[in-house]
């Protein structure tokens, strides 16, 4: 069944499209980009070998349209489609469609995607495979009394979650019996309007859990491996912000246990390809959360500590190759940290910031990897997720990785739009973060007022000086002959003339 893939359509945009195109290049596979109206000069289009227009800017009219993706794949003769993350990556209909069209879908089987995509089904599978789950229950449709009974058994506070959920939608913490009914109803309504599926279930609420996930790789020959964990506890509104590997709480023994659990559900779900099994971790115990049936945003931290290229492995698995290494051959070296750099304004509640990148310079040097979806003069469009790049940094130790991340953040230059670079600097300086004392409530506990603007007085003073000189220079340039100020003007002109001839530092 092994079939060499020669051409891959990358059904995505931004940094993940760039990432996949790079893997294709490394394997001498032709990479085909698709682009919407506003992405015509995007970086992924420039890097690809071929590029096809697939419609207007809104993703519902371009990157999400199955027919268009399939049409381009047929037209250009692609053997395979790599969906990246988001868009069509976890859509079982699309995976089915590819199968019907005899195009390799680089990901798990449609059936696996479908089953693991339903949180209630996934929870059942996890229980069958012997994974620990948070105490909780499927509470059926509208049966409030049974639900209340279950909630009492579990003990308040409980978490109400949508079966079809994701990204925090349809999720509610219920602290006491009084608010239970109303919360249940609201969550079900939210779930119906967001996912068209009102089923909800309840779980014991953990107050300070860590989010720890296990990367898995499974081939078509019955090999199920895990590549260790990533800690992704630093989240804002259920979106990961900083990820790292290994987790500061990890021990070889715990890793073996969590890895085994991840491999067990992979086996149970007949998993093929790269995937992530997410867990909550608190007080020494871990609980199954969900399986993401695709490449994760944060996959590079695993690549850096294991030395394994996950996208290349996905492609090899899709070609039908057996994995080229065993569980014992996977080793971990050093520490890697990823910062998701967004075009958002941390001073204004992380509102997305759109516009042209008037200046853009990525950091570099020892330990630094930048997976950027943009280059200088690109526009950040309004239509998609505003992530502009992932800064991924490796160090021999966690401390070195943090220091190098700080350095790289300081080197980063983004102007034209606001970015979360300064926000990440604040996190890198946070004492609890540096001590590895993390939980998913880290940000709300440490920054209850959402105030990430912890500027040093020294920096403030220098910024004041910079602004004063800028105003001085600008106004002198505009007022070329200010009334009654001839001397100053001539000095200024002299300066300009001499600046071309003499040294910057002068003769001091």
């Amino acid at each position: 069944m092994a079939k060499k893939i020669r051409k891959i359509l990358v059904a995505n945009r931004g940094e993940i499209a760039v990432r996949i195109i790079r893997a294709c290049r490394d394997l001498e596979i032709t990479a085909v980009a698709v682009y919407s109206d506003c992405d015509k000069s995007a970086y992924h289009v420039r890097l690809a070998d071929e590029a096809y227009h697939i419609g207007p800017s809104p993703s519902s009219e371009s990157y999400l349209v199955h027919d268009k993706l399939i049409e381009v794949a047929r037209k250009c003769g692609a053997d395979a489609i790599h969906p990246g993350y988001g868009f069509v990556s976890e859509n079982p209909e699309f995976a089915h469609r590819c199968q019907a069209e005899k195009i390799i879908f680089i990901g798990p089987k449609a059936e696996t995607i479908s089953r693991l995509g339903d949180k209630l089904v996934a929870r059942e599978m996890a229980i069958n495979a012997g994974l620990p789950v948070v105490p909780g229950a499927d509470i059926g449709e509208n049966d409030f009394n049974i639900a209340l009974e279950r909630a009492r058994e579990i003990g308040f506070p409980v978490l109400v979650k949508a079966a079809a959920g994701g990204g925090g939608k349809g999720m509610r913490v219920v602290r006491d019996e009084e608010s239970f009914e109303e919360s249940l109803q609201t969550a079900a309504n939210e779930a119906r309007s967001a996912f068209g599926d009102s089923r909800v279930f309840i779980e014991k609420y953990l107050d300070r859990p860590r989010h720890i996930e296990i990367q898995i790789l499974c081939d078509t020959h019955g090999n199920f491996l895990h590549l260790g964990e990533r800690e992704c506890s630093i989240q804002r509104r259920h979106q990961k912000v900083v990820e790292e590997a290994p987790s500061p709480v990890m021990t070889p023994e715990l890793r073996a246990r969590m890895g085994e659990a991840a491999v067990n559900i992979a086996r149970e779900s007949d998993y093929v390809g790269a995937g992530t099994v997410e867990f909550m971790y608190q007080d020494g115990a871990f609980y199954f959360l969900e399986v993401n049936t695709r490449l994760q945003v944060e996959h590079p931290v695993t690549e850096m500590v294991t030395g394994i290229d996950l996208v290349q492995e996905q492609i090899a698995i899709a070609e039908g190759d057996p994995l080229s290494f065993t569980q014992d051959e996977i080793t971990f070296r050093g520490h890697a940290i990823e910062c998701r750099i967004y075009a958002e304004d941390p001073d204004e509640g992380f509102i997305p910031s759109t516009g042209e990148l008037k200046h853009y310079r990525i950091p570099a040097g020892p330990g630094v990897r930048v997976d950027s979806g943009v280059i200088i003069y690109n526009e950040i469009p309004v239509y998609y997720d505003p992530m502009i790049a992932k800064l991924v940094v490796w160090g021999k130790t966690r401390e070195q990785a943090i220091e190098r991340t700080r350095r790289a953040l300081e080197e980063y230059r983004v102007s034209g739009v606001r970015s979360t670079i300064g926000f990440h600097r604040v996190i890198m300086d946070n004492e609890k973060f540096r001590a590895g004392d993390l939980s998913t409530r880290f940000l709300e506990e440490e920054y209850p007022d959402n105030d990430y603007h912890q500027m040093s007085e020294a920096l403030g003073e220098k910024a004041a000086i910079a602004a004063a000189i800028d105003k001085f220079v600008t106004e002198r340039k505009i007022a070329l002959d200010p009334v009654g100020n001839g001397r100053q003007k001539s000095n200024w002109l002299t300066w300009h003339r001499r600046a071309n001839l003499r040294s910057f530092g002068g003769s001091h």
């Binding site: 001073d347 509102i351 309004v382 670079i421 910079a466 602004a467 000189i469």
Partner: protein, 170 residues
Amino acid sequence: MARYTVTVDGREYDITVEYRSEHYRMTVNGREVEVYREDLQRGRSLLLIDNTSHEVDIRYNGGDNERIVFMQGTDVPLQIEEYNLAQLRKTAGMAAGGAKETMIAAPMPGLVVDVRVAVGDNVKKNQPLAVIEAMKMENILKARTDGTVKAVHATKGQSVDKGDKLIELE
């Protein structure tokens, strides 16, 4: 010689600038500072402030007096005024840049999913005023100063373009 009042993070700097052979002689709250400046492309500059090196990017941020200074990986928002005007303003008992902050406009195209205030409400700085959904994210618009709601132009469910006026404070 020029004299400015710069307000950063609630701290105020009294700064004078004078151009002397190839460098700038400044005082910052009375302390002398020597600065060399090298123009870089596209509005950026390289400053040596007492020989410390800084690559700086300055852009306007709303009103005439508002700037964002990007340096050391950090966006620093600040207000800069002519010293004399700042003195007048202070005599009048106003906060720096206060007059500019009363109009809340849509920072991006999107859908108004919530309006949390009504005309006449008293609001505190940072109080949520409205919520706009864009890029699949809900974005909360907050008051930049204390004030009273003078007008509400936004309604729930409305599509707005970047720059549309949503809420006016006074």
